[in-house]
Symmetry: C2
Subunit: 133 residues, 2 copies
Amino acid sequence: MNIGAASEKSGLPAKTIRYYEDIGLLRPDRAGNGYRDYSMSDVHRLRFLQRSRSLGFSVEECRQLLSLYGDKQRESADVKAIAEIKLVEIDRKLSELTELRDTLRHLVHNCHGDNRPDCPIIDGLSGRAQAAQ
Amino acid sequence: MNIGAASEKSGLPAKTIRYYEDIGLLRPDRAGNGYRDYSMSDVHRLRFLQRSRSLGFSVEECRQLLSLYGDKQRESADVKAIAEIKLVEIDRKLSELTELRDTLRHLVHNCHGDNRPDCPIIDGLSGRAQAAQ
DNA sequence: CTTGCACTTCCAGTAACTGGAAGCCTTATA
DNA sequence: TATAAGGCTTCCAGTTACTGGAAGTGCAAG
C-alpha cells in the first residue's frame, strides 16, 4: 500500500514515516513508479512506533524494541534481556501514570464545576507533594 | 534552595529547569546573589513536569496541566474541563501501556532464554497485529 | 588567598519532527 | 486526448525541547 494508507492505518503522519525511513527504522519496498510500498507487517511496526513514541520512549529505545520484532538472527537470550529491561521501564511508567490519573480523577470528582473560587482541583494540586519516588 | 538541590529533588537536569524558566513554565525567586531560589512548591511543579514529560505529554500540555496547580484566578469550571480532557488522554495512554506490557510480559515468560532460534518473543511480536485502536 | 565547585548568561548543537517548494505520477472529468 | 486535482517524490529550511560548552561570578574550605 502507499504511504497515505500506511499513514492512516498507523496513525503517523506521512512526513514522520519518511523520517523514520531516513533514520533507518523501517525500509519499505518500492513500487515500479518509485512510490513506497508498505506491507501489513510494516504497518504493524509503524503502529508500534506510534504507540511507544507517544508513551515517552525515545526513538533509540523504539529501535531496540523494534529489533524484537524483526531480527530473526538475534539470540533469544539477548532478546529476552532487552524485553525484561523494557518491562521494568513500562511498569514504572504505568505506576506514574496511574498516580497522575488518580489524583486528577479524585479532584475532578470533588470539583463542583461552578464558579466558586475554592475549587479542590486547584487547592489539592497546589499544596501537595507527589507521593512516590 | 539552589538549582542543584531542586534538580536532585525533581529529577530534572539544571539545564532543563533553566530552559523551563526561559519558556515561562516556572518563575523561581532570586536570592540576593542572583542565584535562583526554589520553594518546595516549585519542586513539586518540577517533579510534576518531569513525570508528565516522560509520559509523553508535550510541554504545552504540561503548561495546561500546570495551570491547574497554580492559577488561583482561574474559574473552577474551566479547570474541571481541562482536567477531564486530560483524564481521557491519560486513560488512553494507560490502556496502550498496559497492552504493550502484557504482550512483552507474556512473551518474556514464554521465552526460554537460551540460544534456540525459535524464541516466542520474536515469533509472537513479528506476526501479530496490535489489538486495540 | 586561591582552589574548586556551584552558580550565572549566552550561544551553538542535537533529536525528532514539521512545513513548504518544485516536480513527477495517477486518475477523473470534459 | 487534454487538463486539472491530488498523492507521491526529494530536498531544504524551520520548530520544539532540550543539551553541551564557554566565559565569568559567588562562596566555602584549606
